[in-house]
Each structure stands twice: as structure tokens, then as C-alpha cells.
Symmetry: C2
């Protein structure tokens, strides 16, 4: 209630507010993206408890009344993956009255981008199972989780075209072909090899490591890493991959 300015408030004592309005829960749900086998993937967990026990769902949790919202989001991700310092982004808050059977629970949806090779599921700690699902093959999920996945994915696709966040999904060094496949999977298009390379290299966001892939049955590929220095400059202005 930056917030209690409205007409209804005229009729509310502090006690009435507590009894009537402060009866809600807030949760965070996290769409964790990874990139593997040429495919954009989402990490789902099998629920260990009712309601919807045993069903695949988004990892999420209630926010503790003594916990900041963004801390809760980071916690959910960390408890599941063991990862810290991961790219996370708040996207949208869902607040339909009946979206949850146990009571009035709002949920704030986030996405995070992780390097799938860094990820080891934190088993005993969490739900029964966790598994990567292709974004093109998400099962039916409980609550409004399918809507959340859609909303968040749309948002991610929009962002990835404008800000160079795609790198967060790749290992520290990567080839131009790898990043092209990543963008093609995320944006569901195909780019011309030469134009894509030109565009990426002229951004100055890639640093040539002067190392190469090995043991492929073909010409070795040059490895690059992401130039975090220039990241901020680019995120502000109009980085696009609209080709």
C-alpha cells in the first residue's frame, strides 16, 4: 500500500486491513532456460507434494514474510541448481483470484539463463526429480504454469533480440556456429552464416581466444569468449538481431 490511498480505505481501520487484506501469499516461479543439443530447454521439477503431486511443474516457492522478493527468486534457483550469480529477470505477476486451490496466492514469474554444463541438480534437497524439457515440448502443467512459460518465453525472445543476454546460456568459450544455433533455436529462424558472423563480430562483444576446437572430423572452429566490458554499453542502446 504505497497504496492505501483508495476509497475503500476510508472505511478501513488498521485492524480491518490486517484481517481482511493481509491474507494473501506471494510465490515466485522460475523459468530456468538452458541450451543443449541445439534446443532451448526449460528445467521442470516433479512436485513432491499435494496439490498436483507427481506432476511436472515450474520450480517455485512461497516468499517468506521476512524475505525480500528477489531474494526468494535467487533462493529458489540456488536450492535447485546450486548456482549463484546467475542472470535473473523478473517478468510478470499473475494474480487471478482462483489460480491456486489453497488460498489467494499471487505469483511473480522470473526467468534465469544458465550454462547447462554447469548445472547439477540438487537432488535430495528438492522435489522428486528435475528434468530439462524442450521449449517446443512442454507437458501440461498445473496451476497457470503453461501460461507462465508462454509469457516468460515471449519476453525472453524479445529481450534476446535487443540485449546480448544469449551468451549467458553458453559455456565460457564457444564457436560462432554454436551461438548461431543458439539464436536460431531461441528465435525459431535461420540466419545466413556470413551475415550472422559479420554482425556479431562488428559488435565487439566477442573476444578471440586464439584457441580452437579439437578432435572433430572437420576443420577446427575458432573459440571466442564474451566481452563483459562492452556488455553494458550495448544493453542500453539498440543491439538487435532482427536479420
Amino acid at each position: 500500500m504505497g497504496d492505501v490511498t483508495g476509497p475503500k480505505f476510508m472505511m478501513r481501520s488498521e485492524e480491518q486491513i490486517r484481517n481482511h487484506y493481509l491474507n494473501c501469499g506471494v510465490s515466485v516461479d522460475c523459468v530456468i532456460f538452458g541450451f543443449d543439443e541445439g534446443d532451448l530447454k526449460v528445467l521442470l521439477v516433479r512436485r513432491g507434494v499435494e496439490p498436483y503431486q507427481g506432476q511436472w511443474a515450474l520450480p517455485g516457492d512461497l516468499v517468506d514474510p521476512e524475505e525480500d522478493l528477489n531474494v526468494a527468486a535467487v533462493r529458489v534457483l540456488n536450492e535447485l541448481t546450486g548456482l549463484n550469480n546467475v542472470f535473473m529477470q523478473q517478468v510478470f505477476t499473475f494474480g487471478e483470484v482462483h489460480r491456486h486451490p489453497l488460498g489467494r496466492v499471487f505469483t511473480v514469474a522470473y526467468y534465469s539463463l544458465i550454462r547447462i554444463d554447469k548445472y547439477k541438480v540438487n537432488k535430495g534437497n528438492w522435489a522428486e526429480e528435475a528434468e530439462w524439457w524442450s521449449i517446443n515440448n512442454i507437458p501440461e502443467l498445473p496451476f497457470d504454469h503453461n501460461l507462465i512459460v508462454e509469457t516468460v518465453s515471449d519476453n525472453f525472445r524479445t529481450q534476446v533480440k535487443r540485449k546480448p543476454i544469449g551468451f549467458e546460456l553458453l559455456p565460457k568459450t564457444f564457436t560462432l556456429t554454436e551461438i548461431q544455433h543458439l539464436y536460431e533455436a531461441v528465435l525459431q529462424t535461420n540466419f545466413d552464416v556470413r551475415n550472422f558472423r559479420k554482425k556479431l563480430l562488428t559488435t565487439g562483444l566477442l573476444i578471440d581466444t586464439n584457441t580452437f576446437t579439437k578432435n572433430n572430423a572437420h576443420r577446427p572452429a575458432r573459440l571466442y569468449r564474451f566481452n563483459k566490458q562492452k556488455y553494458d554499453r550495448w544493453s542500453k542502446s539498440g543491439f538487435t538481431l532482427d536479420m
Copy 2:
């Protein structure tokens, strides 16, 4: 709790959840933008109640446990301005533990764009006063409202460059100069008159009404209206005003 998948849940009975977690409030706060006198403005209300009684603040209200989130946002706007069917956009949710003195209250920030000429403040119904403030001259606000205004304004500026939503701030018919001034005020830049006109006219989003302004001490200006038909096509693809 699409949402109760986390480790803490292992130790939670349904009763414990209700007692411990469902004690929060959720409010909506609305940054209402208007355009007047060549300036982007925000509608603030003077709080009629404690805490912070008498201070200027964003219009907002607690979400009723039986009320959908987006319905609450529409209600706040309608109760204050009497307007319906207004462009509204959810932007961000603020959930710091101590952002509100009365308890744990999350707030979901929205913005809306209204035609300032349509607006008549709904007096008795609401807080003590309501007034338009230039975005460049917002006073110190209670709670985290200054941060909300900043966050929402940044988001609006980003959106307005990519989607033709600026029209929502103008009367039904308007001149090219008016819309240029609007964009210049919002984006804090100056556009070349000829290039700006060219760009806007080639979008096909403007319909020539073949009417003109009158009684100015200068050449009459051609009046246009917004082509809602083409709106959707444009909002999807890459409408920009980056010049």
C-alpha cells in the same frame, strides 16, 4: 504457489502455510501518464490517511482477496479518473520486506496512458487532491514510490520507441507537430522535422482526416487520427523511433 515445490514445503502443513505464509498484502500502484503543455506528466494524489497523510503519492490500493490483480488496477484508475478502456500495462512488482510500515505488502506497478483532455478528477470519491506533475519535477514521494516512478518511466520510454502506444496520450485527432512534441518530451531528444514526418507517414498508422486546425496566427495544420487497424501488425514487429 504454483509454487509450493520448494524444500521449505517439506516441513509445512496446510495449516502452517496459512498461518505463516498467507499473511501478506498485495497492492497496485499506478503511474498515470498524460501529455500537456509540451510536457509528459504524472498524476499524483494527496494521501487522505496515515501513514504519510497529506503527502503526494501514486494512486494505488490494496487488492481485495476476491479481486483479480488486473481488475484492481483497472479499478484504481477508474475510481480516480472515471475512465475505462484505457491503455494499461503491468511493469514490475516490488517486494522489499520493509517497504511498508503496516505489514508485508507487495506492490505491483502499472502505467496507463490517458488523454489529458478527457480527464476530470473524481473528487469526493478519492484522496484529498489530485494533480498533474511534470515527469521532470516529481516531488519526494512516500514508500518506494520514487523508485516506482523511475522504473515505470524507463519501461514506458523503452516501449514507446518500439510500439506505437504514444498515440494513446493524444486527442482523437492531432497534428504531426503535436505528436513530434510528444515523442520529444517522452524521449528527451529532438527529431528532425522532415525525417520525423516521413517516418511516421510511411508507417501507415496515420489517417489523414482532411481537416485542419483553425484560428492560429499561422498556417493551419493538417489533422490526423490513429489507424487502430494497423496497430497490431506494428506492435509485433519492429516499430522504432530511434533516429
